[in-house]
Symmetry: C2
DNA sequence: ATAAAGCATGATCATATGCTCATATGTTTA
DNA sequence: TAAACATATGAGCATATGATCATGCTTTAT
């Protein structure tokens, strides 16, 4: 308990602009919201998944087509599709032994467009 | 060389929709572009960095204020600010021994807004 | 000049991540 | 029913990542 108080005192002692910190704190979204947002962007933070999403911008595709497109193992593709599915970014339909994946979100394209806009200076 | 040919043959043999794959390939951005995009989102894929950016939406802040706000080590904050700086998302100005950080991109807010829109179903 | 304060950086470590291999599941065809 | 094909999943491994600790750098104050 003594340690905790020391830390708190040390922290508040080094805050230069208490008013700014307070103001910012009030405008910050909930911790859970910030966490979920980071989790979403984490999904976009991998080249393979970005490629899959871009591919699905153009067309619905089955796993073996995606595998050929990406030049990876079928297993690797399947694992990544699982991640995208869990993030509710893609949906699928089964037709015989094939599974066709497609986009399930209208925001992804806009997010990517804004991201590309940042990249080009 | 024999191995490589085998792989290529095996791949093309499992492509069900060659036309779709070709069409998608043509519409895909450059590999470097896709890589850069993933790198950008990787920066957004961490709660600490998301918090820092949200904080800077509201106000310019110095490192010690951010440290107090986040409840982390000053070192940790400094390391993350470096990442954000390298991604050209924030800029800084020195004033005496203090360093003030602020946003350096108009796209971040839009990207975050779209991300939040996805999260809320 | 020396001490103190604010920030940056290198080293280290524990955890997370993404791929491959092996195998399981499910569907179609012979 | 057995074999072949498309996909999913678990285990294992190598690398990446984010936090802390220790320390260095720069500016201000005494």
């Amino acid at each position: 308990m003594g340690d905790e108080r020391d830390i708190i005192e040390r922290c508040s002692a080094t805050v230069v602009h208490e008013d700014t910190v307070e103001q910012v704190k009030e405008k910050m979204p909930e911790d859970e919201c910030l966490f979920d947002l980071a989790e979403l962007f984490k999904v976009f933070g991998d080249t393979t998944r970005v490629k899959i999403l871009f591919a699905l911008f153009t067309a619905e595709m089955c796993v073996c087509d995606l595998t050929a497109l990406l030049g990876l193992t079928q297993s690797a593709v399947s694992h990544q599709l699982r991640v995208l599915k869990q993030a509710r970014l893609i949906k699928y339909r089964k037709q015989g032994k094939m599974v066709y994946y497609s986009l399930d979100d209208e925001h992804v394209k806009r997010i990517f467009d804004q991201g590309l806009a940042h990249i080009r200076h």
